[in-house]
C-alpha cells in the first residue's frame, strides 16, 4: 500500500527470544510509526521516528526498541519476547492529507509461544 511494506507478515517465536520487525517505505517520508493492535484496545503507539536516528517513545514502549539508520527503514525490536506481546503490529508513514494523514502497512501478526 502506497509504498510501505512490512516484513515478515506472520511470525511465531518463543518466549525470551529477540524479534525484529521491518518497515520499509519508498516515498522518503520523514515520520514513521509503530502501532500494535489488540482487541478492545484499538491501535496503540509503541515508538515513532521523525528522522534518521531520531526516535521517541509512544504509550506502550516497554519491552520494545526501534532503530532508523536510513530514511526508508524503521525497525522494531522485541528485546525478549513475552506472550503479552502477541499482537498485530502496524507500521505507518505520515504522508499528508491535511498534513496529518497516515498510510498503514499491511501488518505483521506476531505470536509468542
Amino acid at each position: 500500500d502506497a509504498g510501505i511494506t512490512q516484513s515478515p507478515r506472520h511470525k511465531v517465536t518463543e518466549t525470551g527470544t529477540p524479534v525484529t520487525l521491518r518497515c520499509h517505505q519508498t516515498e522518503n517520508h520523514r515520520y514513521m510509526y509503530w502501532y500494535r493492535q489488540d482487541p478492545g484496545h484499538g491501535l496503540r503507539l509503541i515508538h515513532y521516528s521523525y528522522g534518521v536516528k531520531d526516535t521517541d517513545k509512544g504509550e506502550v514502549s516497554d519491552g520494545y526498541s526501534v532503530s532508523r539508520s536510513k530514511t526508508e527503514d524503521f525497525l522494531l525490536t522485541l528485546e525478549s519476547a513475552t506472550s503479552s506481546q502477541t499482537s498485530v503490529y502496524f507500521c505507518a508513514i505520515r504522508n499528508g492529507t491535511g498534513g496529518y494523514g497516515y498510510t498503514f502497512g499491511s501488518g505483521t501478526r506476531l505470536t509468542v509461544v
Binding site: 484499538g42 503507539l45 521523525y50 521517541d56 492529507t97 498534513g99 494523514g101 497516515y102 499491511s106
Partner: protein, 113 residues
C-alpha cells in the same frame, strides 16, 4: 487513560440504513480528527477527516459531525452497504510532538442484507 472513547463496540445495520459511530475526546489541544476503515487482514485506511473549525464534513455517503463544545465527533454512513462491513476507528491528533494519532478502541460494523 483513554483519551479517545469510541462507541459502540459493535453495530449491526440493515442494508440501506444509517450507521452511526460516536467518539469523545478529552484533550482540547487535538486539532485533527480522522476516521479509519479496516478490513480483515489489512491495515487501517483513511476514510475521512475533519478539523475543529467546521461542524460537518461530507464525502459521498460518509459524514463527520463535530461538536467542539461537547468534545464529541461522529461518523455517519448513509445508505449502508454490505461492502461497508469493516472495523472503524476514530482518532485524534495535535500539532507538534510527532503529530501522533491517538485511536479509539474501534467499532465492528456489520451490514446485513
Amino acid at each position: 487513560q483513554q483519551q479517545v472513547k469510541q462507541s459502540p463496540q459493535s453495530l449491526i445495520v440493515q442494508k440501506g440504513g444509517i450507521s452511526i459511530i460516536n467518539c469523545a475526546y478529552e484533550n482540547t489541544a487535538f486539532d485533527y480528527f480522522p476516521w479509519y476503515q479496516q478490513f480483515p487482514g489489512k491495515g487501517p485506511a483513511l476514510l475521512i477527516a475533519i478539523r475543529p473549525d467546521v461542524s460537518e464534513k461530507k464525502e459521498g455517503r460518509f459524514t463527520i459531525s463535530f461538536n467542539k463544545s461537547a468534545k464529541q465527533f461522529s461518523l455517519h454512513i448513509m445508505d449502508s452497504q454490505p461492502g461497508d462491513s469493516a472495523t472503524y476507528f476514530c482518532a485524534a491528533s495535535k500539532k507538534g510532538g510527532g503529530n501522533k494519532l491517538t485511536f479509539g478502541t474501534g467499532t465492528q460494523l456489520k451490514v446485513e442484507l
